[in-house]
Symmetry: D2
Subunit: 397 residues, 4 copies
Amino acid sequence: MTTTPDVPGAAPGLSVGMVGYAFMGAAHSQAWRSAPRFFDLPLQPRMTALAGRDAAGVAAAARRLGWDSTETSWEALVARDDIDLVDVCTPGDTHAEIAIAALEAGKHVLCEKPLANTVEEAEAMAAAAETAAARGVHAMVGFTYRRVPAIALARKLVADGRLGTIHHVRAQYLQDWIVDPEAPLSWRLDKAKAGSGALGDIGAHIVDLTQFITGDTVARVSGRLRTFVDERPLPAEHAGLSGTAGTGRGPVTVDDAATFLADFRGGALGVFEATRFANGRKNAIRIEINGSRGSLAFDFEDMNLLHFFDGTEDPESAGFRRILVTEPQHPYVGAWWPPGHLLGYEHGFTHQVVDLVGDLASGTAPSPSFADGLQVQRVLAAVERSSDTHSWQEIPA
Amino acid sequence: MTTTPDVPGAAPGLSVGMVGYAFMGAAHSQAWRSAPRFFDLPLQPRMTALAGRDAAGVAAAARRLGWDSTETSWEALVARDDIDLVDVCTPGDTHAEIAIAALEAGKHVLCEKPLANTVEEAEAMAAAAETAAARGVHAMVGFTYRRVPAIALARKLVADGRLGTIHHVRAQYLQDWIVDPEAPLSWRLDKAKAGSGALGDIGAHIVDLTQFITGDTVARVSGRLRTFVDERPLPAEHAGLSGTAGTGRGPVTVDDAATFLADFRGGALGVFEATRFANGRKNAIRIEINGSRGSLAFDFEDMNLLHFFDGTEDPESAGFRRILVTEPQHPYVGAWWPPGHLLGYEHGFTHQVVDLVGDLASGTAPSPSFADGLQVQRVLAAVERSSDTHSWQEIPA
Amino acid sequence: MTTTPDVPGAAPGLSVGMVGYAFMGAAHSQAWRSAPRFFDLPLQPRMTALAGRDAAGVAAAARRLGWDSTETSWEALVARDDIDLVDVCTPGDTHAEIAIAALEAGKHVLCEKPLANTVEEAEAMAAAAETAAARGVHAMVGFTYRRVPAIALARKLVADGRLGTIHHVRAQYLQDWIVDPEAPLSWRLDKAKAGSGALGDIGAHIVDLTQFITGDTVARVSGRLRTFVDERPLPAEHAGLSGTAGTGRGPVTVDDAATFLADFRGGALGVFEATRFANGRKNAIRIEINGSRGSLAFDFEDMNLLHFFDGTEDPESAGFRRILVTEPQHPYVGAWWPPGHLLGYEHGFTHQVVDLVGDLASGTAPSPSFADGLQVQRVLAAVERSSDTHSWQEIPA
Amino acid sequence: MTTTPDVPGAAPGLSVGMVGYAFMGAAHSQAWRSAPRFFDLPLQPRMTALAGRDAAGVAAAARRLGWDSTETSWEALVARDDIDLVDVCTPGDTHAEIAIAALEAGKHVLCEKPLANTVEEAEAMAAAAETAAARGVHAMVGFTYRRVPAIALARKLVADGRLGTIHHVRAQYLQDWIVDPEAPLSWRLDKAKAGSGALGDIGAHIVDLTQFITGDTVARVSGRLRTFVDERPLPAEHAGLSGTAGTGRGPVTVDDAATFLADFRGGALGVFEATRFANGRKNAIRIEINGSRGSLAFDFEDMNLLHFFDGTEDPESAGFRRILVTEPQHPYVGAWWPPGHLLGYEHGFTHQVVDLVGDLASGTAPSPSFADGLQVQRVLAAVERSSDTHSWQEIPA
């Protein structure tokens, strides 16, 4: 019997502290745990500490999720000398405070999206990130879906010129989890906590993804927000998505759905829709890009597929290709399984860890940056203003 | 040997005269010819006369398409005593003149969509239709896609309450026939002839179809038109879609693509897109409706299918149903083939004839009426104004 | 007003007499009627006479389907001097007698599939066809699905070498019309009339189609027939597919389903299945071909699509292409509608008329020949023998 | 700061030793690591030891995969007192020896499929498992795909009677990884190591899955094996699937493809196909079940979907339902992510650990047992005999 050394290989460590342990905390934990098992990482992540306000809750979460120790405040976590990176998985109203403090304390930061609940907070965060970067401390916002292999392939095909000039961007993020008017209120339906509703929670993703894939940005928007159900049962207790109803009703203060037209700076026409009321659609991130040379189509409900039309082919045998993005040639895929063995939702988080760790080791600024997160925030704010004022709104370049 | 009597059964005749013999003329001819072979019609259509300006052209077309005689002006056709119904298959700039004259001459009228190139013309036509109706002379506008069985089934499911309250309407009409910037000018790219581009040619269909399926109407819009290619080669000669390029270039005076947000009067949020630049999409009329109890999805590139999600089912076995709309229980289908034997594009035109002839025989006002066509025209005009003024535009109720 | 001449163009006529007027008779009638309206035919078909035993029935059918005259026996039809071609649309037990008589009378023959109910009859028919051909009288068997554009394209891609060496042939013809054990007996379930059940009715199609697409033939088979429901209600009267049940029950004397393995002479492994018990599948002719360079997949429930995988492409962007077979470059399609406008079931019959008329005009032997029909019959007979004897059975070359 | 206790909760431990660390070893490691993070396990797995013959190789693998210690022989692993369960991930020719020794040493055993390379070995293993079970020592064979949620749901729907009497079973396992004749030899193409080719490697899965879903077993088969490429380049070194070619060529001694017909004891007709030559299909496990009340269809290339047709519905709105198997109501799914967030290939292995650990804690015999694995082996052996003898072969009940 030979005992396996504690640290795989000679890689130096990267000590991670995470704040928050709900849905996103579970996903990030699996990523920190899995990344070094499948990828050769130049830094070896350690799941050092988990912070949360409730002592019993955070202790149970740490046991379950595999964190070595716990703190009952994010401030205590940020103050620890043995933490290299703070991973922010809390609701959006706390992002700015935690991330800025962590950066100022010299910790790298991975912050869940949306970057913040307001443009002002996002601006402060981007400024803090810029200052920190000058000291070699880096920040990244967690638009994880960029690391889905089919999305990364989509970006590559556009960058390689396979689509030519982009004419159309069509994106929808469709869910249905509150189509029942008796589904109870959650923090996600509370503007104070969540900032906005479908727009910020899921609309943010399709703004980021389409800008990422096209390499272009949105210049102006005309938008329409709608709250179909104004009032809902209060939850029985601190309830998440699956919370049961309690007594009394409370107001829904965010949008249930957001639609908007967009002009991209490069000339493409965009049409966007984010909703929690698309009955039967569970997590359908659907993106289509039409260009002068070809087209792409993607649906997260079939996340291992990318559909590609090559408009330069002989029409006799041309057609949208159903690319099963599980080949060793595809982004991220070679580290996992043989062709045809699918990846799932959480793999994007693992890829995020891989890219982030690689950037930190090489001193490269990770992407998407807080500035990228701020730019998305500005698009979302413009959509809200547009809906309020019934007018087109410009996004500053 | 027994000679078959000339007129099938004892049905009285309906003598039809058609104006125009291009794409739509061919489709209408096949419909007039086929309808009595598969359906029991209370009036027996006769393909009496075809009108067109070029004597040789109209004669050749009449031989090929099966019309008994020809006229070289629509005025001559309208003047004939032996014509009961005038079928208008010409470009949109001539619809008003021909249709109004025919109605005034006491002929029923079937007029291709869009009803006219301007709201003013459409208003005159609707007024003429109303006047004629008082005399028992009827008019119908050819929004044929309503008669695709899957669309008729969609309408039925909504009317039966299977979708509940409608929250979302999502509609696209995607083509790619001029994505090549060297595709030559056709009359469809000339505002004087065509009125508008993608908006009026194909956007009109998705406005009509979504209003038809939901039983609701659009109240206001925010739209964006775009012409991606401003100038194109002049066609070598009188060229249609497949025209070859000649010498010189001319301006494109219509939109290549139109996008718009819409509020429906009943509260649904609409998102619309019509384009001739969606590379790889040939004739993709895609409609999705999300309601409080269920959802529908349709794509004309799979026109025999309707996808239906019943949100009241047990989640364990709920899912979008791929309904193959070829059962005897489905609208129009029983007259054709056994289950699983598909219908094609032209069958909608045959069903249009069937419904129109039935209405004429019973004295019922056919649907969609010229008033319906006018309403669609008003939506299209509002989209154009919205795009010009960068503002939301109301559609009069 | 100019009267359109009776015969389009200067094409000489082809006078057709049809025997039988049920499902196939309706489809053939539509084809004879439509072909000259969309295609330039070198001979102008005339729908001269329809034969059927019941005087009233055949008269009504002739009126509905558009035949100029009627006969109450096929013998009378075959005896007429004004008939150039006999189109045989009766059940299989009458094919041999009618077709041979017609050929001997100097009439061309189009005979529905399966060619006959027994190999012996099929041999006699093939011999009669060979004799007639020496006199310039031609015969064709109606394996119509060869003329579906997607199937014709599949054949072309294989012939062009796009698939390389064929390794696998996978074919299913799935229906469900008698899955209900209370569905009544029809002539199709009576061995004396129909010869066999799923095997001959629909299995014949997938044998023919896979041999056609691959350009290869089946050498030996191991098969299994099964009758799941042995006894069914007698029909109330002369009932077809939709017959209602009467009193009493009768035996099902044909197979409900047939499965078989096949060796193709060229080395491919074949797997075949034909059934009327595949709940939810209405008319699913599903064919997949896997070769050393590429693959094809087709499903008749999406008959305008062909899926093609080009194995020589860069794996990064390789995938099954969804070819919408509605481009002018595709077989038969240019005569119909613009790209993206689908064809339906009956169009294959029209294409069959087009090809047959072209061959007759040029004196070419039409394809598939009676010899081809005989070869399919031999495969079917070998499957039956194999099922009876539990052994592999050879098909003579 | 609070240190997280080493063992989550009060669960007793389950000390695991694994033999082999290639493809399956990586998948099993991820499962042992992830299961306790998402599920409440009654026993807490510890990844105690990894065995492999090459000291450096096994050490590197243990570091990467996360095993606490290593052994350079499986005998040493089996001899250790601190091991509760042996997880056998080696090629099939070693399964019998290792598994039997481990059972005799009182270790529970999880053994990868196929259970063994011969029926004789499998019989010895099943006998050893039976003996061990009497002592409370349990064995399980790793037919992991049973734990894909869509497959588990399929089993449930059949068991609930939603399909009625099963008429048809149609199963294919299609890959294409050696369609290139220059792909080098691997141990999987060597009969001595692998036992058989496509038949045992992937055909085993579809035999197990269809028997599992239907709750029925195969009674007799008629099969056809084929080796399309008899000779291949020798690999440059110890090469796996992605091995590069060296010098010289060697014989392929296993089947490239296997097809067989099957009778199920309950009366269903089965058609099976397993191949490594289906160009463009990467890991397509496709299963269709047709019953008197409904049908199911599954494709592992879309592994989060199950298609279900309910034949008892009104035909107007009946159709195959695309069930996205990501609802909390679905098997295993509640422990993971919200609806619409997909699972991947490796999750099946995690579910296998969950079920196995639960059974061990409760003293229940885990399923599938070695007896189940033996039965599958007998089916595979019957297919081989059938192919050799060109006859149907019975499988003992």
